[in-house]
């Protein structure tokens, strides 16, 4: 990222030191297959949990795709995260059905419990909140997903209970 906006862009993202050699298997499989940039980034994100800028640069170098293009793709799609996310990724659905069934109240409950808005991570790095368009479980609205588990028919109280439960489990794990 050394072109015009390079420095400014860098300041917006946390770039932790990551082991780039973890990418080598993916790159050797895909770097010569045309059109596989998105697949490479998806698999890279699976390794690191997000896409550090150094990874984007490395992918650009290895695949000979311009780094502006790699960055362009990484910022275009909502799946890609350029900053680390918390241990528990809350995806709160605000699709039409959830919206009319009170997703805003659930968002409030999450804020009251964790003090985070859309896109933010708690200080203890336990939770990140992402508000998403539709999880496709409309008949259980309002719905949220935490990591791979879906929770439906939410109320403010139910939401807080679920989060507290996750929190105490995470703290217990840490204590061990």
């Amino acid at each position: 990222m050394e072109c015009c906006g390079g420095k400014k862009i860098k300041s917006r993202f946390i770039d932790e030191d990551v082991d780039l050699s973890l990418l080598d298997n993916i790159l050797s499989e895909y770097k010569n297959v045309k059109g596989s940039l998105i697949t490479i980034l998806q698999q890279a994100q699976e390794i690191y949990g997000y896409l550090p800028l150094s990874v984007l640069d490395y992918v650009a170098n290895e695949t000979k795709v311009k780094s502006s293009k790699v960055y362009g793709v990484a910022t275009f799609y909502t799946q890609f995260k350029l900053n680390p996310v918390g241990e528990n990724l809350i995806m709160l659905c605000d699709g039409t059905a959830c919206h009319v069934n009170g997703a805003d109240k659930i968002q409030e409950a999450i804020y009251e419990e964790l003090n985070i808005h859309d896109g933010e991570t708690t200080e203890d790095k336990l939770f990140t909140l992402n508000i998403v368009a539709c999880l496709g479980c409309c008949s259980l609205s309002p719905v949220m997903m935490i990591n791979d588990e879906t929770y439906g028919n939410l109320t403010s109280k139910k939401t807080k209970d679920i989060i507290r439960d996750k929190k105490s489990k995470a703290l217990a794990k840490e204590a061990k």
Partner: protein, 582 residues
Amino acid sequence: MKVVVGLGSCGIAAGANKVYDLIKEEIESKNLDIDLEKAGCVGSCHLEPIVDFYDENSHLERCIKVSPDKVLELLYKALNNELKEEASLISEEDKKAQNKQVKIATENCGYINPEDINDYISTEGYSGLKKVLSSMTQEDVIEQVKIAGLRGRGGAGCPTWFKWEAAYKEKATPKYIICNADEGDPGAFMDRSILEGDPHRVLEGMIIGGYAIGAKEGIIYVRAEYPLAIKRLKIAIEQARESGYLGKNILNLNFDFDIRIKAGAGAFVCGEETALIASLEGKRGMPRLKPPFPAQKGFWNKPTNINNVETFANVPWIFKHSASDYAKLGSEGSKGTKVFALTGKIKKGGLVEVPMGMPLREIIYDIGGGIKEDKQFKAVQMGGPSGGCIPVELIDTPIDYESVSKAGAIMGSGGMVVIDESACMVEMAKFFLSFTRKESCGKCVHCRLGTKRMLEILERITEGKGLEGDIEKLEQLAIDIQNGSLCQLGITAPNPVLSMIKNFRSEFEAHISEKKCPAHVCKSLITYEINKNCTGCTICARNCPVDAISGVLKGKHEIDKEICIKCGKCYDVCKFEAVTVD
């Protein structure tokens, strides 16, 4: 005995995995003579988790809302034929709602094991493909799809035969066939349900389509947010290869075809054909000008045909039965059935599949059971962020492509979100527009900035800062965006706003002129008060997050409007209807 547990995403969210595991453990530990199977979603998501018990004579007893603590009791009742009086059995009313439907695309969903190709074959699956490959030319196949009158189920309703013929006539090779499973419409989930419940049907449709246009490769572009659908598709593709339905020389009938999956990375605009192709090529998913159409220059500039999941899911039926049988279903210009995702303020939400042309009223009241809490029905929003709403006056509209667009909405992919009296239509318009603004890819200025300007106007209207002339400004901006955008995302982005203005203009005017929100939704335009019903129970004061409520025990309470943040908590918790909102 056979036991089938519905394990679609909705069932799993309702706890069906636990139910399945408990039955499995019991069978294993007690050595019971029971076949336990998984299935997709039968469509009645409001009844999940659903467990089907089949006795020796294949007689079905369906139990609904089966909780983990109830399931073993039911299992033993079923084993002893004692389910008859069971309260968990599906009600006659719910059965009737199922029977009113005609299922083609979702006929197997909830009945067969999506992870076992033999289950699909036992329903005469892949028989359509056999017929096609052994006895029909490419032209025959396209002709049959034309006779059936199948139209694209993804939104625009383009005749499927027309697209197939265009791709077939192109000389360039290789050709590609793509299944658009990037279902992004908030409020629509039929594609997910079909992929999770009956993936082989989609594969069969794609293979037939591939044969018709002369393609050797198929790609399914599926949302990454649908992990279960991806998993089941992978299993299905693997099994189809092993059984000779995919790969070289399919069924020894001299046709090569294979399918691979590509997980999308989350962008609504990728539902647009040319954007989807760009994304498949590893680029930002931005649409381009048409023509050339994908049929001429698509994936890697080669002839490409793209259909949506539900469209492909209809194809096997046409060849298993006949094109003329298919054409008997539905209305004049819209043949066959359509799957709708019935959600929002509806009692019995879920997927329904009905013949085209069924009046909206029957779908909402006879199948959907009416409005939640028996509130007043206000409108149905169809077509998601590209669509519009059908107001209560038009509730007898027959639901087919032409009638729906005449009523001011679009069929879209089939999202049907029911809105009741408690919704503010200005806020709804804002909701849809904020979605399209976020999802605009940014290529066309009118779409990128026009939606932002419209959103700003809507925001100020809901904040009580609306100005005279704002409605006209919105209308003008809408026309500009429609004229200045390249793809359907931009062209249709203003539709929800225009439709809300057309049908609910007085609500917009009340916000602007009287600074009132008739539905009591927009916080800046409402005030909470406590009336003489107050018994002084103090529950409101204890729940107020900003301590805006004062009063003594057993005395009337008051809300300090200066401090009140209008969160509505007091209104929700009051048991005496003492909190009023205006």
